[in-house]
Point group: C2
Chain length 103, copies 2
DNA sequence: AAAATACACAAGTTTAAACTTGACTATTTA
DNA sequence: TAAATAGTCAAGTTTAAACTTGTGTATTTT
């Protein structure tokens, strides 16, 4: 499975999308992340693992609490995938821009 | 369901992602689109309907054949959603760029 | 040190989404 | 005009992903 496939698969689920949105500009513990959902902590932890494997979220454990924040990696992969689906002339224009930036 | 939710939900499925990738820079009939997959034409048509509802694909029927191509709409929605998940300072920089572009 | 908190893990269940079947319509080809 | 092609539709089945249960560990609080 490619990186982009992992990212898009991860974002295919409504709960995981909501988790990502709630983590925008805000770090939070697993329990805090789980609070609004009508499901067990285990289920939320499973969602989290998928987001982490996709590079959308990174976590760090301090003591007994695991802190979660967004990871830019997954979003970079997402942007690159989306860009590659653009019509040829747009990709050419974009490549031209990149060359100009370098000079 | 928001527009971004529809787009990400649609791209959550591996077959639909593959369909999108194969439609990059190439229009194609429903049967041509269905050819590589080990599933019925009906299943492919169902996937297609989801992609179309999300604004990722547009189709047009001429005679008995329906031609499918990518639609930029869905990708614009996807890009905007991804951009909104960036850290605050990146969004501020981006907003500054927009203002400078206008002047 | 006892109790509560925060999370982890393995194994089983449930359900929504993917997929099929069978019947049908419209269009093109032989 | 008969047959083949391209797709549509409603209704039923299947399966992978989401979710739960039960148990266990490390850490913090009282």
């Amino acid at each position: 499975m490619t990186d982009a496939n992992k990212v898009l698969q991860a974002l295919g689920d409504a709960t995981r999308r909501d988790m990502v949105e709630r983590l925008t500009d805000t770090a939070m513990s697993v329990s805090a992340l789980a609070a609004p959902y009508d499901m067990t902590l285990t289920a939320v932890a499973q969602h989290l693992a998928i987001l982490e494997a996709a590079g959308l979220v990174k976590t760090e454990k301090n003591g007994r609490v695991r802190s979660c924040r967004l990871d830019t990696k997954g979003f970079d992969i997402l942007d690159a995938w989306s860009k590659a689906r653009r019509p040829l002339w747009q990709k050419r224009l974009d490549a031209l821009g990149d060359v100009l930036d370098e000079t």
